[in-house]
């Protein structure tokens, strides 16, 4: 997985639904964020497992923004959800510390916080079909993740 600055091109594709969440970097909002994203995702007929996978991935990305992005400070976290016919896209953005070395951070067990296990990004990779991180130290981090969905069955 390469950390490239562009998302997969979606030129000309219009999402079926689009929702943005913006909230303060409080631990209790991690649960809010994953449940809200799952609410949007469940407008499509997904399996319990798919929903669980999405929830865990969102939980990791938002937790990272709270724990690493804003560390001892506090700030706003933005979550953009786009529901395409065949894909769910979730982008988690913070304006926090940023990541010095993205490739290093992506390796399992690598962490800058000894109380943690360095597993969050690996979990996202495991549960989603696409993960692209862009970050600038001192400016913030953007975690793009996408999950393939079966096309909606039109009734």
């Amino acid at each position: 997985m390469q950390a490239v600055p562009q998302d997969k091109s979606r030129a000309g594709r219009i999402p079926e639904n689009e929702v943005q969440l913006l909230f303060t970097s409080k631990p209790e909002n991690v649960g809010f964020a994953r449940t809200a994203v799952a609410l949007v995702a469940s407008q499509r007929d997904l399996t319990v497992d798919q929903l669980d996978e999405i929830k865990v991935a969102v939980s990791e990305a938002v937790s990272n923004a709270v724990i690493h992005g804003y560390r001892d400070t506090s700030g706003m976290i933005q979550v953009d959800v786009k529901l395409y016919e065949d894909e769910l896209e979730v982008v988690v953005t913070d304006k926090g510390t940023g990541i010095e070395d993205i490739e290093w951070a992506m390796q399992p067990t690598n962490t800058t916080d000894k109380s943690r296990m360095g597993l969050g990004l690996s979990v996202i990779k495991e549960f989603m079909d696409d993960l692209t991180i862009t970050s600038r130290p001192g400016a913030g981090t953007r975690v793009y993740m996408a999950k393939k969905l079966a096309p909606a069955s039109r009734p």
Binding site: P27, E28, V30, G31, F32, R34, T35, D49, D52, E53, K55, V56, S59, E60, S63, V66, I67, S115, R116, M117, L119, G120, S122, V123, E126, F127
Partner: protein, 121 residues
């Protein structure tokens, strides 16, 4: 007035001592927020020095993320220090996958049911 249980955001920890085995039943979602409650409650029960083994019943645990995994491994370390065994019971598919991915299932056994877990100890 009916007060609703805030199950979505809170975990609920119930425990029972069966011989020298502590059975913890965990309900809810285990993340960086709710993990504090889990750690606190689990440590409270683990203060009882009779406890050697731990059976963690996860059939009502709907989500565990990597913060939750960390907390489970923390409890495993306590049990290991006492020379005991830890068994996890009732894992949902996605919970099982994250426990596998993180290596927890290399050191923590799994069982189909609480009864089978207890029989093994």
């Amino acid at each position: 007035m009916i007060r609703r249980r805030k199950e979505d955001e809170r975990v609920h920890v119930a425990a029972e001592l069966v011989g020298n085995t502590l059975v913890i039943r965990l309900q809810g979602e285990l993340d960086m927020h709710t993990v504090e409650e889990f750690k606190h409650e689990a440590e409270r029960y683990l203060m009882d020095k009779r406890v050697k083994n731990l059976v963690l019943v996860l059939s009502k645990t709907s989500l565990i993320d990597s913060s939750g995994v960390g907390a489970i491994l923390g409890r495993y370390r306590t049990i290991k220090e006492r020379g005991g065994t830890m068994i996890a019971v009732g894992l949902r598919p996605v919970v099982k996958r994250i426990l596998k991915l993180s290596g927890v299932l290399n050191v923590v056994e799994t069982a189909e049911s609480e009864r089978r877990a207890l029989a093994r100890l």
